[in-house]
């Protein structure tokens, strides 16, 4: 995972709420066995018409959306399936942070483990961001702040450990493997065995 401390980008806005992971990456693309290349299929059925041409109405296809690394989405983003492919697809496409009033648990977890930052903000900030697509925002991971509308700044909640891993680019598996002696001890001392 690449370390991430600051991010400055224009935003792209998908105002719909409850955007599920089936919309982010439809199931028929999940037969791949590597992590690479899912960006091409991100939001496939929304981004493309039936004939494969880009759907010009869709937010990511609008002028100015190119190169945006921050997605502002409606409440409860990433609900549904646990497929990490949704996070891989967003990252592969170039999205590095998602801002909403609510982000589904498993998606948030998957995001943090891959360097996609889930940012939950208050309703007022959210409204402002929804109404100003293409606005420039600045994210500071160490301070857990989101700066927008020039000088407005809000803090967002982030798990201490996840923040540390993001800042250092730490692989959590390495951390977990350091606990192996504790894990072995646990296995030896439990009163029943699964």
């Amino acid at each position: 995972m690449q370390p991430m401390s600051q991010l400055r980008s224009r935003t792209v806005v998908l105002a719909t709420r409850d955007i599920d992971t089936d919309q982010i990456i439809p199931a028929r693309f999940l037969t791949a066995t590597s992590r690479a290349g899912f960006g091409a299929q991100l939001f496939y059925d929304l981004r493309f018409n039936k004939d494969g041409s880009p759907n010009v109405e869709f937010a990511l296809n609008q002028p100015g959306a190119d190169g945006c690394e921050v997605l502002v989405a409606g409440n409860n983003f990433g609900c549904g399936s646990s497929r990490e492919h949704a996070v891989w697809a967003l990252l592969d496409y170039g999205i590095r942070a998602v801002i909403s009033t609510g982000i589904a648990d498993i998606f948030r977890n998957n995001g943090l483990k891959n360097g996609l930052l889930p940012i939950v903000v208050d309703a007022e900030t959210h409204q402002w961001l929804l109404q100003h697509p293409g606005t420039e925002v600045a994210i500071d991971v160490a301070r857990a702040t989101l700066q927008f509308a020039g000088d407005r700044c809000v803090e967002f909640p982030i798990d201490q450990f996840a923040r540390y891993c993001l800042l250092e680019g730490i692989d959590q598996l390495g951390f977990l493997r350091q606990r192996l002696p504790d894990i072995e001890l646990y296995e030896r001392h439990r009163t029943w065995t699964p």
Binding site: S82, D105, N110, R177
Partner: protein, 469 residues
């Protein structure tokens, strides 16, 4: 300290406790794996030269991209596409290389991962169970703490048998009363999601409690817990009781004779203490419920079968978008909508009792002209049991297709899909846009409602069909 069911299971599995700076290390007793969410996890293990720490606590099968054509064999996978063939070969190779026994296509114990765990007795009260699949919540019906994880976490569990976790909050859902005739566990969970919303459970583990829950069979409890994730919850749990123990007794992976009594004694202690506190409590009365159906594009957009589709407040663009996608008009009852496809299956409703319910309605009747109906058992064992009591004949003579087990039309990745624009009444758990195929329009319902709708050719209240019989 009085503790909830969840807290009891949680604290017993904490290897190192959480601190402000680090999450808890939580031990996992059973890791279920399938072909779709594991290849990248095994790749991570290979790249770091790691082995699978506890293959004996890992249960592997293939269900998602696996075709369900009658007598399906490996060559049928080619119908789904070269990538699916490759994915299935990769699963075989991964299991072989890492010493995991795989319930492969030729195994009579194969099936949907959340159906076979309980069926084999691997799912047990008090266990921690994970799978790279959000419907792992199903196993909570046994009083296990069971939840879905991403592929990176699958690699964590493969390598260490543990996960890094923050303790979730608890939500009690108290269900009073009894379900009426023709109203099932599926209707109950749809009503619950309708009440608390698709993010009503976010950050929480739900415990379903109360008279109505105690009265449910294990199959029905699994249906309820299965859809906990559709309310955004991490997991759903039900305290184990005699219904649970009777179900598990004698199953191949359940505790054997010598250890059975000890296990049951331990399991009995798992129920939440009377004085235990939940972070939130919600109440619902089962006796007033009707059969429920969804009208929109998430499982919280739900109405009683004879109610009209609700009218959105004008400013709600997401609601309008959902109705547009479904091509349903606000204010009209769903029972006017004509049905193209009916699917009875998925880890929500593919167990023997679900098939029996559908068969009870179909027995001696024909499905309407123009309707395609698929009945897909949750496992090969359920398929055999259903055939032993003649259910396959009832389905076939009603005009339905009878398939091999698998995820099938629950998600469009194994060759079984709903064509674009067609309306499907489905016993699965997700009515998301495109879930059953590009442009597919899905109405979620119970097996009874699905079967009645197949006969009527329109969305139907199953109760008159039960009475006529």
């Amino acid at each position: 300290m009085p503790a909830t069911l969840f807290e009891k299971v949680w604290r017993e599995h904490v290897v190192t406790p959480e601190t402000r700076d680090t999450p808890a290390v939580l031990y996992i007793d059973l890791h279920l794996i399938h072909e779709v969410t594991t290849p990248q996890a095994f790749a991570l293990l290979r790249s770091q030269g790691l082995s699978v720490r506890r293959p004996d606590l890992t249960l592997a099968t293939m269900d998602h991209s696996t075709p369900t054509l009658p007598g399906a064999s490996f060559k049928d996978v080619a119908i789904v596409g070269a990538a699916a063939v490759q994915q299935i070969s990769q699963m075989r190779k991964n299991c072989a290389d890492f010493g995991i026994s795989l319930l492969d296509h030729d195994s009579d114990q194969r099936g949907i991962v959340h159906v076979i765990g309980p069926e084999l007795g691997a799912t047990q009260p008090g266990k921690t169970i994970v799978c790279g699949d959000s419907h792992t919540s199903t196993h909570g019906a046994f009083g296990a703490l069971a939840f879905g994880i991403g592929t990176t976490e699958v690699a964590h569990v493969l390598a260490t048998q543990c996960l890094l976790q923050r303790k979730p909050k608890t939500l009690a859902i108290e269900v009073a009363g009894r379900l009426g005739t023709g109203v099932t566990a599926k209707d109950l969970i749809l009503a619950i999601i309708g009440q608390i919303g698709v993010n009503g459970g976010t950050g929480h583990v739900i415990e379903y409690r109360g008279e109505a829950i105690r009265a449910l069979s294990m199959d029905a409890r699994m249906t309820v817990c299965n859809m906990s994730i559709e309310a955004g919850a991490r997991a759903g749990m039900i305290a184990p009781d005699d219904t649970t123990f009777d179900y598990l007794a004698g199953r191949p992976r359940a505790p054997r004779a010598e250890t059975w009594d000890d296990a049951v004694a331990r399991w009995r202690d798992l129920a939440s203490d009377d004085a235990a506190q939940f972070d939130t409590t919600v109440s619902i009365n089962a006796s007033q419920l009707e059969p429920m159906v969804t009208f929109g594009t998430n499982p919280g957009m739900v109405v009683a079968i004879n109610e009209p589709v609700p009218t959105a407040d004008g400013s709600d663009a997401s609601f309008r978008k959902a109705l547009e996608y479904m091509r349903l008009a606000a204010g009209k009852p769903l029972t006017e909508a004509s049905v193209d496809v009916v699917f009875v299956g998925s880890c929500t409703n593919s167990r023997l009792s679900d098939l029996q319910e559908a068969a009870a309605i179909l027995d001696g009747r024909r499905i309407a002209d123009g309707v395609r109906m698929l009945v897909v058992p949750g496992s090969q064992q359920i398929k055999a049991q259903a055939e032993a009591i003649g259910l396959d004949k009832i389905f076939r003579s009603a005009g339905a297709e009878w398939r091999e087990s698998g995820c099938s039309m629950c998600l469009g990745m194994n060759g079984d899909t709903v064509p674009s624009g067609k309306l499907s009444v489905s016993t699965s758990n997700r009515n998301f846009e495109g879930r059953q195929g590009v442009g597919a329009r899905t109405i979620l319902a119970s097996p009874l409602t699905a079967a009645a709708s197949a006969i009527r050719g329109r969305v139907a209240d199953p109760r008159p069909y039960l009475r006529e019989h």
